[in-house]
């Protein structure tokens, strides 16, 4: 009985992707980063759900959508705890732990206003020097952009 109720809170999808374990306060960031507000797919989401790990988590279910790796990288930067479930015919066929890659290309902005990437049409590139609290070292100006100043392009 209890299990059924939990199912009701976010309805199941036939094919698509479930993004689970999003920190609740990052839900709308994730939606905007993935551009979910402008795709025609059916989307359901729940937020402020109980989570032992996160306190309050959010979950997004996107029908008929399968993400490319670069898109997943974008989620990893803002919600490194997120987990992806790939659904085919109501079954979970693949689980993917969203992981912050060691190198980030073209996703984040360098927080140094004097950096070439903020002054010329140069694609940003970073080495990830700490996770899960993200800290990025710019490949160009060598300055560090920390979680607090992280801005997604």
């Amino acid at each position: 009985m209890k299990k059924d109720r939990k199912h009701l809170s976010v309805s199941a999808i036939k094919d698509g992707t479930v993004i689970d374990h999003i920190p609740a306060e990052k839900l709308f960031n994730v939606i905007s980063i993935l551009g979910l507000d402008s795709i025609p797919n059916q989307i359901t989401f729940g937020t402020n759900l109980e989570s032992k790990k996160l306190g309050r988590k959010a979950i997004i279910k996107i029908a008929d959508k399968f993400f490319k790796e670069t898109e997943i990288n974008k989620i990893a930067l803002i919600a490194p705890t997120a987990k992806l479930n790939i659904i085919r015919d109501y079954e979970v066929v693949d689980k993917r732990q969203v992981e912050v890659p060691d190198e980030i290309i073209g996703i984040a902005r360098c927080m140094n206003p004097k950096c070439i990437t903020n002054n010329d049409s140069v694609i940003t590139r970073f080495r990830v020097i700490s996770k899960p609290r993200i800290s990025l070292r710019c490949h160009y100006c060598e300055k560090i952009t920390d979680q607090e100043h992280l801005e997604i392009l």
Partner: protein
């Protein structure tokens, strides 16, 4: 391997590379004039003026028998006509074997090295890197101390924004150095560099003035405390005389101790220090020519012998 590789950041080289450059710089000092760069062209692209650095590079090239093209400020070049850095570098790299560039934008040299057909030496990209300065500092330290290992280095002044002290710290951290940082609160050594030392298990100490620690030093590395760095001018007035080195402060110092400064100096070393045997900053500038000769030869794969 240094050959054919750009030198953008001191992090592009490892300990073995530093030592290889220093050994070659010694050979250049022993034989400063040669013709091994005959037929080679170096472009010095100074998007912002830095007469001292440019002349040092040009002297190095001239003493090796190479030729120089370039500009000394962006105002006289196609850059003012709105040409992008990429286009300037791509074009110029057709005309030369090596580019030496200085640019106010941080990361510009790394970007240039990625679009250039020839190696790039960074002669300063804003507040970021100036690796040839670091290598000439290392050369000066080894030359005066006969070693780079186990030295006590005191860094004085603007340790927050001073790129020379940051790069020197990174390089010297390979040699079991003990560091003393002397600076006002506003200009302390940033946490990431202190963490770097902690990770390596190296000792460092922070001080607000240097009265008691000078006798411990093998190297005193002076930098300028600039008024513009203080949000409150009163704070500057309070500290401006604290970070000045005077001749009478050198009495208790070690006989091997040497004073370095990246120059230009303003008033942080009084002129009465200049005549002291421990003042080394003008020779340090001369060492810059030998070190740059060594770097150029290494990158171009020219044999000094």
């Amino acid at each position: 391997m240094i050959r054919n590789k750009s030198l953008v950041s001191i992090n592009d080289y490892n300990k073995e590379d530093y030592l290889a450059i220093l050994d070659l710089a010694e050979q250049c000092e022993a034989r400063p004039v040669s013709n091994i760069m005959q037929g080679k062209v170096v472009a010095t692209l100074f998007f912002e003026p830095s007469t001292r650095t440019r002349l040092s590079f040009e002297s190095a090239v001239n003493r090796l028998g190479g030729r120089i093209i370039g500009f000394s400020e962006a105002g006289t070049s196609s850059v003012t006509k709105g040409e992008s850095l990429k286009d300037t570098i791509k074009t110029v790299s057709n005309y030369c074997d090596l580019i030496v560039m200085r640019h106010p934008i941080e990361g510009s040299a790394r970007y240039a090295s990625e679009v250039s057909g020839v190696p790039v030496i960074n002669a300063g990209d804003g507040a970021n890197q100036h690796p040839t300065q670091t290598l000439l500092d290392l050369y000066s330290i080894r030359k005066t101390q006969k070693t780079l290992d186990n030295l006590v280095v005191i860094m004085v002044g603007d340790l927050k924004y001073g790129r020379t002290v940051h790069s020197l710290l990174q390089a010297m951290s390979e040699f079991n150095t003990t560091f003393h940082f002397v600076s006002p609160d506003e200009l302390k050594m940033p946490g990431e560099y202190k963490m770097h030392l902690e990770n390596l298990g190296l000792k460092y100490y922070e001080h607000k003035d240097f009265t008691n620690i000078l006798p411990e030093a093998d190297i005193v590395y002076m930098t300028r405390v600039q008024k513009e760095r203080f949000s409150d001018p009163m704070d500057y007035e309070k500290v401006k005389n604290v970070y000045v080195l005077r001749s009478n402060m050198l009495e208790q110092t070690k006989p091997n101790m040497k004073i370095l400064h990246p120059l230009p100096r303003v008033n942080e070393i009084t002129e009465d220090v200049d005549d002291n045997m421990k003042a080394y900053y003008f020779t340090q500038a001369l060492n810059g020519v030998f070190t740059r000769q060594a770097i150029i030869c290494s990158i171009l794969g020219l044999d000094q012998k």
